[in-house]
């Protein structure tokens, strides 16, 4: 009898211990440990935006957001394919990350103060610098956003775009009627059906949408104004700084690799490089990987699996006809400026 009470208490204790937050073990990060024991990174992406995350004909999710997920998986697990992609909508994306359903959210999400302040989430970096644009039908003869006074505009609710449009139109004393539909395919169909004069979202999203129209792309024009700053990036939960560091530096490693001329093709030769910057990046010198809680060759795994930032860009976004522009390296007129890896 006594023994059964004792074992009951042990069971209870074990249950309580399991219910309590998982304590960090090897890597110093609960999230990294979970990913390692699961053998898979769970990454939230969009429900299908060409160039960002869209399933190809083989069912493989392709795009710059998807590849950013793969890079993090490669850094932790050494294999860029150990990712489970979870499609999220604009309205459930934060809840999915907050609740722990996702490890990482890379879903063309704009870095804003309000989101970092209120959501309990952190932006770990910017993988794409974007801005709100407007797409109109060529036949309408609209040349500028200023011509859109009184227009009906299709936009997804819950985005920073809807706030940006409201601000811009008020500032310029213009009026507009919004049509707000959550589902991406539905809002695009609604625009194509002529319910709206214009479709607005991030300029990259518009370019991707226009690209998907194939031969009919000529029927749509992207207006020249970009009315807001939309730095899109990766989000993690607050409270796991180690994982935050890893995600942040994974992207920096890809950008640094492009800057240093390290690519997926020459990364093995670069292991023998004499340049100390490159030697530290590929883990031939120092133990920077260990300080992040992963193996020293983490950056090599990332570059082998996904390539450097430029390779990722050329593979995913460039085919949509989006110019590199501000997404170039800092020394080529862009905004990507990786801090020193040392």
């Amino acid at each position: 009898m006594k023994r059964s009470i004792l074992s009951g208490a042990l069971l209870l204790g074990a249950t309580l211990a399991l219910a309590a937050p998982v304590k960090a073990q090897g890597s110093g990060s609960a999230t990294i440990d979970t990913i390692k024991s699961r053998g898979q990174l769970v990454c939230g992406v969009s429900t299908g935006v060409a160039g960002f995350s869209l399933a190809d004909s083989k069912g493989v999710t392709q795009g710059i957001d998807a590849d950013t997920c793969r890079a993090v998986a490669a850094a932790i697990l050494g294999d860029a394919n150990k990712v489970r992609f979870v499609p999220t909508t604009t309205t459930n994306r934060f809840t999915a990350l907050q609740s722990g359903e996702l490890d990482l959210l890379v879903r063309s999400t704009t870095w804003t103060l309000g989101r970092e302040g209120n959501l309990g989430l952190l932006f770990a970096g910017v993988n794409f610098y974007d801005g709100t644009g407007f797409l109109v039908k060529s036949a309408a003869g609209v040349k500028s956003v200023k011509d859109l006074d009184g227009a009906t505009i299709c936009v997804q609710p819950g985005t920073s775009t809807e706030l940006a449009i409201a601000d811009y139109f008020r500032l310029n004393k213009l009026k507009f009627t919004p049509v707000l539909i959550q589902d991406l395919a539905e809002i695009q169909n609604t625009y194509l059906a002529g319910r709206c004069d214009s479709y607005s979202t991030d300029a990259s999203g518009l370019a991707s949408f226009r690209f998907q129209q194939g031969p009919k792309a000529e029927e749509h024009v992207l207006l020249p104004e970009i009315i807001s700053k939309e730095p899109l990036g990766m989000m993690v939960r607050k409270g796991d700084d180690k994982f935050f560091d890893l995600v942040r530096w994974t992207l920096f490693a890809m950008i640094q690799a492009e800057e240093s001329g390290v690519s997926s093709k020459n990364v093995d030769e670069m292991l023998k490089s004499t340049n100390p910057d490159i030697r530290r990046l590929v883990g031939a010198e120092g133990d920077l990987g260990k300080s992040l809680g992963v193996e020293n060759r983490w950056a090599v795994n990332v570059i082998k699996g996904v390539g450097n930032y430029g390779e990722m860009w050329d593979r995913t976004v460039a085919p949509l006809g989006i110019p590199r522009g501000i997404n170039n390296l800092w020394n080529k007129g862009g905004l990507h400026y990786p801090p020193p890896i040392r």
């Binding site: 907050q98 209120n118 309990g120 819950g158 059906a193 004069d197 409270g239």
Partner: protein, 403 residues
């Protein structure tokens, strides 16, 4: 009353002796109380645990909580609103109020139209006319077997198939049908209209008084004085006279195509149109069956007896059958009204900004999901309880009074 069985427990001789509550497990009353306290305590503990757990986790994840966001400037654009709204000035609280009003706008109109259409269909299905009965039967069987969401998307797509504003269909002067919605002329509301409205209210009271006195006269003499000429004079003539005496202002604001869209007049947006149409068509198929079952529940003898005293079929239906059928109809009808109201939340799919749509946007912009969902739940709870309360009151009123 000889032969009536008296429950022996009710006889003072045989009733169980009344005892004070004893603290013994063999006392059923004591057992009942103990069990109720235990179960209530367990439920309270569970609720307390859930609330505590939520609060702890929210705090641990540093997610903002509380309803403070209701007073913050919203910034979210809203397509159609019954009250003035400017995203850069007005608050989330007002945005949610607009969502509530938009939900009510669909629910009230939907309930009224679904009842009318459903009743017509239900009666039609019982018609002796083969064609009418079959058409009604096909309508019911087809419509209620197609998921509502698909029907809404169908209506929304159909309304988008209308021509662009530039080539809008123009069936009547001032009426335009386009993929931006239906535009109708709007009469400018001026002072005399308020007076006419007041006259209408007075007329309504007068008509009711006249109708009551007519009933009294009918009971006294057996002859019912005609009510409708008086009603017509009081309800139509009187307000028109008041409006005419005050100068009969009548200025119509016509919709005019300017730039992208029509300016002026009133708009029925495709989103609202598709949602209301979809809900009415769908719910009416259920209402039709409820009405049919209610009519069939009235014994044939009632029809025959009414026919035997020489009443016409129309009178039999209105005066004899429907009042009795209502007792069967009202309870399931309440469920349909509740369903229609709750189904209006499918508005999200077709871009109509009801309470769910606006609360969803709000919770996404503020990151406060629990508060947003709580607001949605509260709104539906209050609307549904109001409908239930009204319908239960009506049900009690028409219930068969048994003496």
């Amino acid at each position: 009353m000889s032969g009536a069985v008296i429950d022996p427990r009710h006889s003072p001789m045989r009733a169980a002796p009344k005892k004070g509550l004893s603290l013994s497990w063999s006392d059923p009353r004591f057992r009942n109380i103990v069990w109720q306290v235990v179960i209530l305590g367990a439920i309270a503990a569970l609720v307390w645990y859930l609330v505590q757990n939520t609060n702890r986790n929210l705090a641990a994840r540093r997610i903002a909580t509380g309803f403070g966001f209701l007073g913050r400037t919203a910034g979210i654009p809203i397509g159609e609103a019954l009250i003035d709204y400017d995203p850069s000035i007005n608050t989330y609280g007002r945005a949610l109020l607009i969502g509530l009003l938009n939900t009510l706008k669909v629910a009230v109109v939907g309930v009224v139209l679904a009842t009318i259409l459903g009743t017509l269909l239900g009666v039609a299905r019982l018609s002796k006319n083969w064609l009418i009965a079959r058409i009604s039967a096909i309508y019911v069987e087809v419509i209620r077997d197609i998921p509502l969401l698909l029907q809404l998307l169908f209506w929304y797509t159909a309304l988008q198939g209308l021509p662009a504003p530039r080539n809008a269909a123009h069936p009547l002067p001032g009426v335009f049908l386009s993929n931006r919605g239906i535009k109708i002329p709007l009469v400018e509301w001026e002072g005399p209209f308020w007076w006419a409205l007041a006259a209408l209210a007075l007329g309504l009271i007068g008509t009711m008084a006249w109708s009551r006195s007519a009933t009294q006269q009918q009971e006294a003499t057996g002859v019912r004085p005609k009510v409708w000429p008086v009603a017509l004079a009081l309800l139509v003539g009187f307000p028109v006279l008041v409006w005419g005496a005050l100068g009969a202002p009548f200025e119509v604001e016509m919709p005019v195509l300017r730039g992208f869209n029509f300016v002026g007049g009133a708009t029925l947006s495709p989103e609202y149109g598709a949602l209301t149409l979809g809900l009415v068509v769908y719910t009416s198929s259920y209402v039709a069956e409820i009405v049919r079952s209610g009519i069939l529940a009235v014994p044939t003898g009632q029809w025959e007896a009414a026919g035997a005293i020489g009443l016409r079929p129309g009178t039999v239906l209105r005066q004899i059958v429907l009042p009795q059928a209502l007792r069967v109809i009202i309870p399931p009808m309440t469920s349909q009204y509740l369903n229609l109201t709750k189904n209006s939340s499918l508005a999200v799919a077709i871009g109509y900004q009801d309470i769910v749509s606006i609360a969803n946007t709000t919770l996404n912009q503020t990151g406060q999901a629990i508060e947003g969902i709580a607001a949605i739940m509260l709104v539906y709870l209050v609307i549904s309880l109001s409908i239930s309360f009204l319908m239960n009151w009506y049900n009690a009123r028409i219930a068969l009074v048994e003496r």
